[in-house]
Amino acid sequence: MEGHPATLTTNAPPRAGIRLPGLGVGLGRGLVVLYLSLMVMLPLAAVVAESTSGGLGAFWDSVTGAQSMAALKLTVICSLIVVAINAVFGTIIAWVLVRDEFPGKGAVNALIDLPFALPTIVAGLTLLTLYGSDSPFGLDIAFTRVAIVVALCFITLPFVTRAVQPLLMEMDQQMEEAATSLGAGGFTVFRRIIFPNLLPGILAGVLLAFARALGEYGSLILISGNIPFDTEVSSVFIRSQIESGNVAGASAVSVVLLAISLTLLIAVSLFARMGARR
């Protein structure tokens, strides 16, 4: 599970030579480097090495193969649709949770994190029960692309909300009053004052949600049906390649997903820094 988005917006400038209690400066840094190497860098390097084990040509063929391209395209397009939906609804939820007062607000606020806490396979199972062939509403979307979008919407729901909430809480409401008394109507106040102040949070939330959606597996495996060229997403494609013994091919697609995620994470930290500066 990815880091909580809110933690990304608190990039305090690093101070040189801060000691952890009981640890020397050098020892603390050494531990961090060692742990990150073992847990993050080494596995990543292994995947990259494996993906190019047959040479760059083989890597390229694996990535651009018809089935893997179809899976990548489906994954990226579904993820884009999902983050667009959640950018809007996540912001609205954050707005209601911060600005409205209603009974049960605390419970709703806690509910937002459920998709983070719930095992994704359970989420998939729930969705299959609700929207599968035995749907109590008579709504059967199982094994369609719509089901993929629904599942990903559920999984990525908290990202934008949790990234926007703190910005909304610390936003000076008198800015809105000042704009109003200068003649701005409700929509103008939103467009010129509120939205620009929330944008760094929305973008950070969207990018994290996108990265999460790209690699989602558990909630999709049951409900998407995994039909090649139709509802097979990249993560499922990777698994099927491994099962059929094509480890290099699986690794190649993994590296592509990895590259996209890494680019996005760098973008997130840039946006977070932008948000912190203003």
């Binding site: 000042a178 109003t180 008394s181 200068l182 102040n197």
Partner: protein, 346 residues
């Protein structure tokens, strides 16, 4: 013309912020709303701006009933205590905001913004962001932003409340001068009586959602309508039913009929002014304001017994409670406390 409020009432839950308030602000004047925290002065100002809706009553701006006019259309310039700067816009963008809303063309906006930035002495800082400015600079920017749209009236809510003492003094002199040049009807809210008397032509003293008295600084100081006004506008001692200003206390060394026996408790030199604190026979604490020369003549020491003769005293019948601090004997200081009370309760 000017601004008139008639019979304004506003309640926040259990709190009666405004209780039948009427004020009259002459066209082109500079009026201060003065009162302690929770007196309703900020609520009244926000109601004039349309940022708060009244439960009852009427707001008339330049002869037009504005009670039902939304804030957006009131043509009111509002300056907030904590600046309410648009953080994501440059100084230029902040000041240009109202003009862009009014769809002025670019060249005109640029000319007007620079004219205003010159007026508030921020001309070189147009491309800065608000968090690159000092508090005083931010408040001047906010003032330029409010003035840019040529508002019918200018409303300032504790405009200097968040600034340090030195900047406060500079800014209020500057505001006074600015008003002399612009002659836009201006109301500003403050809890600092010295600031109100320094800047405003007319003072409206508020307490517990009501207007206690309005008039010039001299009027209020010399002819306070009640105990509250007397003790809020200027310093005051209480001797039984009587109130006396500390500078109206005569200190004598010889026993004298009609003079109160008192012991010197503390002598505080505040530059030219000397504050001498006394305790009377019945334990009441009072103080007198003396000059350095008077003190030297009397050669007062702490612990000495002296005789106090109050000059002009006042007494009020009625049951207006004194402001916090008892009003009676403790010397009051204008505090720098935050006055976000009423708006926060909303």
């Amino acid at each position: 013309m000017g601004i008139a409020v008639e019979g304004a009432r506003k309640r926040f839950g259990d709190f009666q912020a405004l209780d039948d308030v009427s004020i009259d602000v002459p066209d082109g004047s500079l009026t201060a709303l003065l009162g302690p925290s929770g007196s309703g002065k900020s609520t009244l100002l926000r109601a004039i701006a349309g940022l708060e809706t009244l439960d009852a009553g009427q707001v008339v701006i330049n002869g037009q009933d504005a009670t039902k006019t939304p804030a957006q259309k009131r043509e009111v310039g509002f300056v907030f205590q904590h600046y309410a700067a648009f953080k994501h816009m440059t100084v230029f963008g902040n000041v240009a905001f109202g003009l862009k809303i009014r769809k002025w063309d670019k060249a005109k906006i640029s000319a007007r913004v620079h004219e205003l930035l010159q007026l508030v002495q921020l001309d070189g800082l147009a491309e800065r962001y608000p968090d690159q400015l000092s508090g005083g600079q931010r408040q001047r920017m906010a003032l330029a932003r409010a003035l840019a749209v040529e508002p019918q009236v200018l409303l300032l809510d504790e405009p200097f409340g968040a600034l340090d003492a030195k900047v406060r003094k500079d800014l209020r002199t500057w505001l006074r001068r600015l008003h002399d040049e612009m002659h836009v009807t201006t109301i500003f809210v403050t809890h600092d009586q010295e600031e109100a008397m320094d800047v405003a032509e007319q003072l409206v003293v508020m307490n517990e959602g009501r207007v206690e008295q309005s008039g010039s600084a001299d009027d209020l100081y010399d002819h306070p309508a009640n105990e509250f006004v007397m003790s809020f506008v200027g310093e005051v001692n209480r001797l039984g039913e009587h109130f006396v200003r500390p500078h109206d206390m005569t200190v004598g060394l010889d026993r004298d009929d009609g003079a109160e026996e008192a012991m010197v408790q503390r002598i505080v030199a505040l530059g030219f002014e000397i504050r001498v604190e006394f305790v009377l026979g019945d334990g009441t604490e009072v103080w007198a304001q003396l000059t350095r020369a008077e003190l030297q003549k009397l050669e007062l020491r702490e612990g000495q017994i002296v005789y106090l003769r109050p000059g002009q005293t006042k007494s009020f019948s009625g049951d207006v409670p004194p402001p916090e601090g008892g009003g009676a004997s403790t010397p009051r200081h204008p505090d720098g406390g935050d006055d976000a009370e009423v708006s926060a309760a909303a």
